[in-house]
Amino acid sequence: MTLLTVDNITVRYGRLTALRGISLSIDEGEVLFVTGPNGAGKSTLLNAIAGVVPPVSGSITIDGIDVTGVPPEQIARRRFSLVPEGRNVFGALTIEENLKVGAGMRADKHKVAGDLETVYGEFPMLADRRHTAAGMLSGGQQQMLVIGRALMTSPRLMAIDEPSLGLAPKIIDQVYEILVRLRAQRRLTLLIVEQSSTRALMTGGRMILMRGGRIVLEGPASDMIKDERLKQAYFGFGDH
């Protein structure tokens, strides 16, 4: 079943066009990697889906319902959770408070306590320091916290912007391990922006290559990795 459809959206920041007619769709339970060089519009794509930057044209539908221009708090209520780049923890709030912000809007309050324990189970390091201010955590710990916090919203789709950015390889492995497991356990749909295409290959799923605000290549990650155009996109060869 199609969970999300993005149809021909264009996003501008002032006079700068960040996305030029992007279309894609994600099925329930799927993993979609979005890759491409800096400035390709990957983060903008996630922000557009999350409702942070409304597209100037085109449409976004969730479960077949048009949500173009709907504010982020309403997108979140459709159980879409975005983990933006840069690990946006609320630094002055404790770990537990950060997690609870994610659960605030939920109608199924009785399940929140259980989910909190699940998140603590996945990330025992967070449980040990639950009353510590989130600003005191290391980068890797903050990354785990924002993923945990997104899980507390009980999402169907989780979109993560560069989960591996600035993290040690060992911690990246850990993060992906958890994501793969969560996907299996909860039929979580994942949309992951990732520079490193090897990660995409290891995790499987579909891959999209973006460049200059457009999608230039799309297919199974395993095929894409062999495609010369992937390298060209990064190194700027080819006829763009």
Partner: protein
């Protein structure tokens, strides 16, 4: 000893007033990066709401005749209402504008409120008598402390305690703190932007009403510019406290109040007229040493 006690109460009560003002500014700044320069005019508006429109010096008290248990909630409601209206009518349109634009909008709103009051009441200060018994002194360890000072301090402590409980223990308080740190992220987690902002405006408006009541009781007059001084100091307190830090704003409010009273008590009589110059001098020194403010929030800097 009694002199010291007197100074202590002066400092605490003046500091309380500034702290309440700074809180009103900091709450709104926290959720939408707006320094609301109309806050001082909110204070005046709440006081004038007690009077019947007239240009005479002897004001015809209107709502001011109500017993306190009706008057106080009524004025709090007026403050909250005015504040919410200004968000809905004015500030909402500037939600995504840059902070300077929003600040100018708040100046404009302040002008509009002031001239509205001017139109109805003229510029003559009006005498209002609220609870004269609060002016009577009480003896504490030999020092004679005006009852109003004690009431002011107690009110402030109660407000601070209630607000702390609200911010720390309730879902909406949690959301407000999260929104103050990173508004977009909070919205992506389902925090309703309009709800949080309206709530901050409502509390801020009620704080303005409380300050208005204290000022009017203390001075016995209603004056169109009566909120300006508190507003200015409150703004400075939010800067010194570290913009965005609510506890910082409160602490800095108390600090400035304390410093004012201390200068007043210790400066040689000839220099006392320059007390405010000394206070602002101290403010400049603080900002030179700590430009980010004394209690700048430990922002979640990206760590690797």
């Amino acid at each position: 000893m009694t002199g010291l006690l007197q100074i202590l109460f002066d400092a605490l009560s003046l500091g309380s007033l500034y702290a309440l003002g700074a809180l009103g500014i900091a709450l709104i700044f926290g959720v939408m990066r707006l320094v609301n320069f109309a806050h001082g005019d909110f204070i005046a508006f709440c006081v004038f709401a007690m009077l019947w429109p007239s240009i005479n010096a002897a004001a015809i008290v209107f709502a001011g005749n109500l017993p306190f248990y009706l008057l106080i909630p009524l004025l709090l409601l007026v403050g909250a209402g005015l504040s919410i209206l200004s968000e809905v009518i004015v500030f909402r349109r500037f939600r995504n504008a840059n902070p300077a634009t929003m600040m100018i909008a708040s100046f404009a709103l302040g002008f509009a409120i002031r001239n509205f009051l001017l139109m109805l009441f003229s510029s003559r200060p009006k005498s209002v008598t609220l609870w004269p018994s609060l002016g009577l002194p009480v003896e504490i360890l030999g020092a004679r402390i005006p009852m109003l000072q004690i009431v002011t301090i107690v009110i402030t402590l109660v407000v601070l305690a209630a607000l702390t409980l609200f911010l720390k223990r309730t879902r909406y308080g949690l959301e407000m703190r999260a929104a103050a740190e990173n508004f977009t992220m909070a919205r992506m987690l389902g925090v309703r932007a309009n709800g949080v902002i309206l709530f901050a405006f409502a509390i801020s408006g009620m704080l303005a009403a409380a300050i208005g009541l204290i000022l009017a009781t203390n001075s016995g007059t209603a004056d169109i510019g009566m909120g300006a001084n508190v507003m200015l100091i409150a703004f400075i307190a939010t800067v010194i406290g570290g913009l965005g830090s609510i506890p910082g704003a409160v602490a800095a409010g108390f600090l400035i109040g304390g410093a004012s009273v201390l200068f007043q008590a210790t400066l040689p009589p000839d220099a006392r007229v320059f007390r405010d110059a000394f206070v602002y001098g101290a403010v400049i020194v603080v900002l030179l040493v700590r430009p980010q403010g004394l209690f700048a929030p430990k922002s979640a800097k990206q760590r690797v």
